[in-house]
Structure formats: C-alpha cells, structure tokens
C-alpha cells in the first residue's frame, strides 16, 4: 500500500449500453489539488460521484486511507461535494443550508450555529445569513455551497465543475479564491472540469480522461509540454498536429515525412521507423518572424482575441489549419492582413512526435 489518501483500483462503471468508466486507476495524495479533465461524457463526473458514493462502480475497489469504501454509504464517506448547479436547498436560508451537514451529524443547535457563523464570516456572507437562496447572486451561491461543504472540516473536498455556472470574470476571481482556500485548509481538493485553463492554473496534478479511460496523469506543465498521445495533444487545444510517417530515427532526434515536407523533431520512446505518426508543435512555440529553423508557409484566415493573447489561424497549402498563439503587442507590430502570405517557423526542440 502506498501513501495515497484516496486510491482507485481498476474502477469500472458499465451501463447496459456503454462503459462510462473503464478500468481506472488513480492515487490521490493527501493535500493535493487534483483535477479530472476531459470532454463531456468522458467519465470524469461519474468518477467523482463514485468517490462520493453517489454511484457504485460495477467493478474495482476504492480505498480511503487503505480502507475499502464501497460498502460505506455516501452519507458516511465524509467527502462533501460542491455541485455544478450548487444544489443548495431552496427551502432553507443561507445559514440553515450551511448548518445542514452538522444537523445530519447530530450536532446540537448552538454548536451548529456557531460553526456556521464562522464559515458565514469567512466566506463574507454575513449580511446574507438569513436570506433565501433565490435572493443570492451566482457568486454568493457558490460561496454558500463551499461553506456548506467545508463546515464539517472534511479531509477531501469534491468539486464538480463548480465554476461553470458563473460568468467569466467571476470565474477567474473564484479560481483565485479556491486556490487560496486550498492553501489555507491544506486538505485534498478533487476538481472536475472541462476547462483547461481552470485545471491548469489551479491544480497540482491533472488527470486527462477520454471515453472512460485515463489518457494522462501529470503536472500541468508535463501535460502541456509532453502530451502522452494525440488525444491529449489535441484536447489541450493549442497544439498543431501534422500527420506523417517516421523517416529517420536517432537517439535524440527524428525526422518525419509529411505532405508539407520533412521536419525534424525530438524522438519518442517506442517509436519505429516507417510507422504513421504525428508531429506536434505547440501554438505558442511558433515564430512569425522566421527565426525558427523549421519553416512552413500559409495564409492568415482568422484571428481571435482573449485578453492580451491573440490566436491566429493560418491556412496551410494542403488546406490544414495551423494555430499560432502570440501576445497582442507582438502581432500588432507585424501589421498583418487577412489573406497575406506568412512564414511560420519553430525550433526542432519544440517539436515532437506522437504515435497516431
């Protein structure tokens, strides 16, 4: 047995017509902030619900501190969850909502309200304590949901896409608050999201899932810079993939032949000559000034601003679309126009090969 706080062993969840979670193994360490990430339907929420005991796996085992949990009903697991829609009790006011788990534990009413008051203050809800849920804004509801989950001082907090119901500026604010809360409390946060930015900015580790299977587990940086496979590379979004076949294979470097030409890249473990593969170049590793050693040309077909970051869409000769991510000021100085020809370049050390 390792030092994992929560350990999932060969967990599967099968429905009659499909498999929601397929032979999942995961060890979660005490105090870490871990995110489960993937497209909708990938099984991340089901995994979270199985941890909470809301769903039961069809096979596998789940250990908390080395103790099997599958026989423990949800109410005894002590893994409160923050729900996507907050799932606050509409017929109770803020304070009563926060007191609810304490009431279920049989905490006497005085102690309950004292404890709830602490959390109400901590979450900055003091003036709303007696309000009905329907009178609160989204952000306030979020804080009530957090307080309600944390009031029993659990060791693990489960969060099921908790920010998706909020608008974007609030989402970023809450991210900071969650990180701060995680640091202050020092407990384990297990966070489900489909948003890469949420997962990557907050988490210690990220689990990428697809079709019920774990695709990769690692720190955000590991995943970003070294995707395990084409799915991960594509899913995390800002990567460009060029299909081809391995031409030459050496210790550290490799060459791949694609219909856009032959490119150099870092080699990868298990690669074989003449097998189909994909060349991966991160969008923010591409230069527009031609300073990279590998070159390719195309036309600008579109652009997209998010804050100070701009994404350019470049149509290559074979019709494929390339993404290039730059700071806005870098792009502005180049004075680009739609349809204008452009040379993209990158360094071979930033390109790597992935098996198809």
């Amino acid at each position: 047995m390792n030092a994992a706080l929560l350990s999932l062993k060969n967990i599967s969840m099968e429905y009659s017509n499909f498999i929601a979670v397929d032979d999942l193994n995961l060890d979660i360490k005490k105090g870490e902030f871990i995110s489960l990430m993937g497209p909708s339907g990938c099984g991340k929420s089901t995994t979270l619900r199985m941890m909470a005991g809301l769903d039961n796996p069809t096979s596998g085992a789940l250990y908390l501190d080395g103790e099997s949990q599958l026989e423990v009903p949800t109410e005894k697991r002590g893994m409160p969850m923050v729900w996507q829609n907050f799932a606050l009790f509409p017929f109770l006011n803020v304070q009563k909502n926060i007191e609810f788990p304490l009431k279920m534990q049989g905490v006497p009413s005085e102690a309950r309200s004292k404890k709830a008051a602490e959390w109400i203050e901590r979450m900055g809800l003091t003036e709303f304590a007696k309000r009905n849920i329907s009178q609160l804004s989204g952000g306030q509801r979020q804080r009530v949901a957090l307080a309600r989950a944390l009031v029993t001082e659990p060791r693990i907090l489960l969060l099921d896409e908790p920010l998706s119901a909020l608008d974007s500026h609030l989402r970023i604010k809450m991210q900071t608050e969650l990180v701060r809360l995680h640091k202050e409390l020092g407990i384990t946060f297990i966070y489900v999201t489909h948003s890469q930015s949420e997962a990557f900015t907050m988490s210690d580790r990220v689990v990428i899932m697809n079709q019920g299977k774990v695709q990769q587990i690692g720190t955000p940086k590991q995943i970003y810079r070294a995707p395990n496979n084409a799915f991960v590379a594509e899913f995390i979004g800002m990567n460009n993939l060029i299909p081809g076949a391995v031409l030459r294979l050496e210790d550290k470097t490799a060459e791949i032949r694609t219909d856009l030409g032959i490119f150099k890249a870092r080699s990868f473990v298990g690669a074989q000559k003449d097998t189909p593969s994909k060349l991966v170049i991160a969008a923010d590793c591409i230069h527009l000034d031609g300073s990279g050693e590998q070159k390719i040309s195309g036309k600008i077909s579109g652009e997209e601003f998010v804050g100070s970051v701009i994404t350019l869409f470049i149509e290559l000769k074979n019709g494929q679309e390339f993404k290039v991510q730059k700071q806005q000021h870098e792009v502005e100085s180049l004075n680009l126009k739609y349809g204008a020809d452009l040379t993209l370049s990158w360094n071979a050390e930033n390109a790597f090969l992935l098996a198809s």
């Binding site: 099968e14 039961n56 796996p57 599958l70």
Partner: protein, 300 residues
C-alpha cells in the same frame, strides 16, 4: 450517463461481479414501495379479480355462492335489454364526447389566448371548483331548470311560448353529461393550448397561414393529445355515470349503470351485474387503447 437515480437497475450487474458487495440499504426503497404496492393490490387488483370470479357464481336465496357456471354470461350477453342498454350507452357517450369537445374547444381557445393573463387563473379556478362540488346535487338541480314548471318553461310562459318537455330522455341526459364533463374538458383543452409554443403559431402566420389555416393545420395537430385525453375522459365519465340517467332521463331508457343497479336490486343478481361490469371495463379499456394508438408519440 448521469444516472442520478439509485442504481437498482444495475443491481443485476453488480451481483454478477463478486468483487463488489452491494451497498446495504436496499431494503429502504422496498420499504417505500411496499405500502402503495400492497394497498393497491389488496384493495384494487384483488377485488377486480374477485369480480371476474364472481361472474361464474350462482345466486341462491339472494346470496351469491361460489360455483363455476357460464349461465350469467349467457344470460346477460344474450339479453335484449343488455344489448339495447349497451348500444344506447355507447351512443350517448359518443354523442356526449362530440358535443362536449365542440362546445369546450372555443371556450378553451378564448381562455388560453384571448383573456387578460391576470384574469386567467381566476377563471381557471372557477372551472376547478365545480369539478369537486357534489355532482349528485348539481345534476338534481337541473330538474328545477328543465322541468315543465321549471325555470326555462317559466320564462317561456312569460314570453308566450308554449312549454316544452325537456326532462326525461336524451336531451336531459346530455345536459347532465355536460354538467359532469364540461368543466373538466375546458380545463384539459385550455392547459394543452397553453402548452403550445406560441412561436409555432407566429411562424405559421409569418409563413402565410390565414387564421383558420393556423387553427386547422397548426393549433389542432399540436393539441391532438389534449383532445384525445378530453375525448377519453368524457367517454369514461359518461359511460360510467349513474346519476344523470337516474335523475334527468328517468332511466328512460336505462344505461348500463342503471342496468347494473337494477340487476342487483331485483333479486340480488350480483354475478350478472359483475358480467355487465366486466363488459363495461372492456369497453373503457378499448377506448383507452384506441386513444393511446391515436396519440402522437413525439415528445414536446
């Protein structure tokens, strides 16, 4: 994939995987389901089977005794009074379904679309109240209105019109059936009209439908299930009704409900009454099945 409900459906799967123990507490849903199940079985399903068994019993000195004879079926199905009553009841119920829908539909349209939204709930409440106020008395009260010396003929006599017989017979019966069904049907139709997506109607007009075309080609098809529900409700209610034929048509001629009670009154022929009852239920079942068949399956 978000199967929020408990995993009873999966229990089968779980039990085939020995590595997982089924979470304890499965007695709980069973404990919840048991009272309704037992109650309805004891006091609804069982009596219904008993009714079927009763049709094969014999009556000895005014008392049904267990037996297995076909006599009751033969007697009832072969009796002309039963056949006539059956035909008459079907005819009256069908007529009532048609009349009620024709009268109720315009009222429902006005209520759903042409009334100030502020007044709507009050009017709907006014329709709900009579549904639950003594039907027996409401029917009886029509005697006072329809009789030769009743309200209508009293007004007629002041206008110099000769009095007309309205009580006794099909007209009075239909008035009674309307009393029973009209509020319910207006409610059903109003609610199904309120459920129609207004943008569909606007889209139809926008595409060049005249108002009557909108009505026939868009509105009516979209409340098809509501109309079917209304028709089956009227059929069911009138088919079973005992009060209107008793109090308004003077049992002239008798409907099936009257025949059932008569069969029991004269000579305690419970088994024969049970036969009539089974036939009645078969017809109601048939109507329900037909409406199920005709209802549009698409979900709103």
């Amino acid at each position: 994939m978000n199967n929020y409900s408990d995993n009873l459906v999966l229990s089968k799967n779980i039990s085939t995987k020995p590595s997982i123990k089924v979470r304890k507490g499965r007695w709980f849903p069973a404990a919840l389901a048991l009272p309704p199940l037992l109650w309805q079985f004891m006091f609804f399903v069982l009596p219904m089977f008993f009714l079927l068994a009763l049709t094969f019993w014999e009556v000895k000195s005014y008392k049904p005794v267990p037996a297995f004879v076909m006599d009751n079926w033969i007697r009832i199905l072969g009796s002309s009074s039963f056949q006539k009553a059956l035909a008459y009841t079907i005819q009256m119920s069908t007529l009532s379904s048609i009349i009620t829908i024709i009268i109720a539909l315009p009222a429902a349209c006005i209520l759903a679309f042409r009334i100030n939204k502020k007044h709507q709930p009050i009017l709907i409440a006014l329709l709900v109240v009579p549904v639950f106020t003594s039907y027996v008395l409401r029917t009886y009260a029509w005697q006072v209105v329809l009789s030769p010396q009743g309200l209508i003929n009293w007004v007629f006599s002041h206008l110099g019109v000769t009095s007309i017989d309205m009580l006794g017979g099909a007209f009075a019966l239909q008035i009674g059936y309307l009393t029973l069904c009209l509020p319910v049907v207006v409610l059903i139709l109003t609610f199904s009209l309120l459920g129609v997506d207004r943008s569909q109607l606007e889209a139809a007009s926008n595409l060049g439908c005249r108002p009557h075309q909108v009505f026939w080609h868009v509105l009516l098809p979209s409340i098809r299930n509501g109309i079917l529900l209304a028709v089956t409700t009227v059929f069911m209610l009138t088919f079973s009704d005992y009060i209107a034929p008793l109090l308004l048509s003077g049992s002239n001629p008798p409907t099936l409900s009257i025949l059932i009670v008569d069969t029991i009154k004269s000579g305690a022929q419970w088994p024969r009454a049970a036969v009539i009852g089974i036939v009645m239920m078969l017809f109601i079942g048939l109507v329900l099945w037909l409406s199920q068949l005709l209802s549009s399956k698409e979900k709103r």
